[in-house]
């Protein structure tokens, strides 16, 4: 894609008044001496040959939407970043993919049409899955995370098992596709739009064949991609998409099941894709409050001001990410909570990675758990 002024105009970038609020609010700019959202924006729109494109910093942006919230000119900064990452002529085209670029490669291999994945091995036990339900559970990349991050104590498939357990509890036997692809979220935000298109079309094709009306995801990134980016890129879709917290808060208010757990203090981390991107703040909190024995306390930054977990799209994981995580974990510690609940598997991975640090891990007295795990354990 060539540098296109018209597309940049759509994101409102030219109305920047250079107030620097974005840089003030940015979690990355707080710890990085070189990264500045304002500089990237002004540099790339005021020069004929954009200066900002030469910096690897372009890939440090978390697209967490914190800057959008404070911008007085209403600039869609994350759309702007998504756009310029696609432009040709960017010299640091690839950024630094963490984990040797393995997650990028995995999603690329999924594009091959004649490969059949073996991804349902982790779904054992007495979980009930059907072939012709109108509900579908979109699992995402959980089986791969399970293998890759087992050494930092993340059991990603636990989320999938608990989600299906919860759905079964409410008499729903969801479909789970055996050859579901990655939703393409990371490729989309890293500017690899070609991969995103291929994965998206493959997924939509499969979903249509399965004749599904409602899709439930346990990952906010899949949720955003399926709900916002698929209709935007591939036209209106027939299926509705729900995040598990949305589904839970509705069905709990409706059916009033008995949810019990030992008395524990929990605090909730708003994932950026669920909170600021999709405006879901209260549903997970309502769900947590409906469990008897759970005492929900808030961290210093919560709701719209919540801080991201430090890495997005597996790009540019660095010292800065560690500092963001350490800061966030410190906030969680200050609440005196026993459990830090997140609704996103990536938040869980990143926080667990920080907790795996010997010094930091000793200081932090709490566990990191997923929302589905907490609810799944409280089902009687």
């Amino acid at each position: 894609m060539q540098y296109d002024v018209k597309l940049i105009q759509e994101t409102n970038a030219y109305s920047c008044i250079e107030c620097g609020k974005c840089t003030g609010a940015c979690p990355v700019a707080r710890y990085s001496s070189t990264f500045s959202p304002r500089q990237i924006l002004t540099g790339s729109i005021h020069n004929s040959h954009p200066e900002a494109f030469r910096k690897a910093d372009l890939w440090s942006c978390l697209t967490c939407k914190r800057c959008d919230e404070v911008c007085p000119s209403d600039i869609k900064y994350i759309d702007f970043i998504h756009l310029i990452r696609q432009f040709q002529g960017i010299e640091n085209r690839e950024g630094t993919c963490s984990h040797g670029g393995i997650l990028e490669s995995i999603s690329k291999i999924m594009m091959a049409p004649n490969l059949k994945q073996q991804r349902l091995d982790g779904l054992n036990g007495n979980l009930q899955i059907s072939q012709n339900s109108e509900y579908m559970y979109f699992m995402g990349c959980l089986p791969y995370f399970e293998v890759l991050f087992e050494d930092i104590n993340v059991e990603a498939m636990k989320i999938a098992r608990n989600t299906i357990k919860i759905l079964n509890y409410f008499d729903i036997k969801p479909q789970v596709l055996s050859d579901e692809k990655c939703c393409g979220h990371d490729s989309y935000w890293n500017g690899d739009i070609q991969t995103f298109h291929k994965l998206g079309l493959a997924n939509i094709d499969q979903i249509k064949k399965a004749k599904v009306k409602k899709i439930i995801t346990s990952c906010p990134e899949c949720y955003r991609t399926l709900k916002v980016d698929y209709p935007k890129n591939f036209g209106r879709q027939e299926f509705e998409v729900f995040h598990i917290s949305e589904f839970l808060s509705e069905i709990i208010a409706d059916k009033k099941p008995v949810l019990k757990s030992e008395s524990q203090k929990v605090t909730f981390q708003d994932p950026c894709r669920l909170g600021r991107h999709m405006n879901i703040y209260e549903q997970p909190r309502e769900t947590l409050r409906s469990i008897s024995g759970v005492d929900l306390v808030e961290m210093g930054h919560h709701h719209k001001r919540s801080i991201c977990c430090g890495v997005s799209g597996w790009m540019n994981c660095s010292q800065v990410s560690k500092q963001i995580q350490a800061n966030r974990l410190g906030e969680a510690k200050a609440t005196g909570a026993d459990i830090l609940v997140t609704a996103c598997v990536k938040c869980q991975i990143h926080f667990n990675c920080a907790l795996n640090d010997q010094n930091l891990g000793k200081e932090m007295p709490f566990q990191v758990k997923d929302l589905t795990e907490v609810v799944g354990e409280s089902l009687t």
Partner: protein
Amino acid sequence: MEKKVKETTKQKTKSKPQFEPRIVVFACNWCSYPAADAAGINRLQYPANVRIIRVMCMGRVDPGFVLKALVMGADGVLVSGCHFEDCHYSFGARKAAEQYKKLEKIVHMLGLEKERIRQEFISAAEFPKFAKVVREMVEQIKKLGPSPLERGALYKDQKLESEIIEEVAPVTP
């Protein structure tokens, strides 16, 4: 004239000789690379299907690198290095073995054949083993056939490098 060129190139591609796999070998600087060297010095022959990449230690070869090689069109990948006791960095080979377990699981999950990847521990003195392993691997992959991720399979609408070269500077017969 142009048509003729295209036809001749088509014929060439049609009458392709038997499948020759492309195998990427990650060989460690201290054991396997000298072993490959010694195989050459001792005039041991092994198939020319391998492209050897020298790395300092096999522990540095992240599962991501192996998958990247597969994405870019390699038919097979061999990771080789020192035995556990001989590792120049004392724990590198063990680390590699750990990572390889993860890699195997992921390759299985993705639906690729697990024979496409292989890990071997070859010391500098074991050059016959290096030649043997390469021969075995080439044979095995010839049986499996080309990789489903063969170059260009992922981005069919994108032009291959060879096609671009053909357009810019067509080969005249």
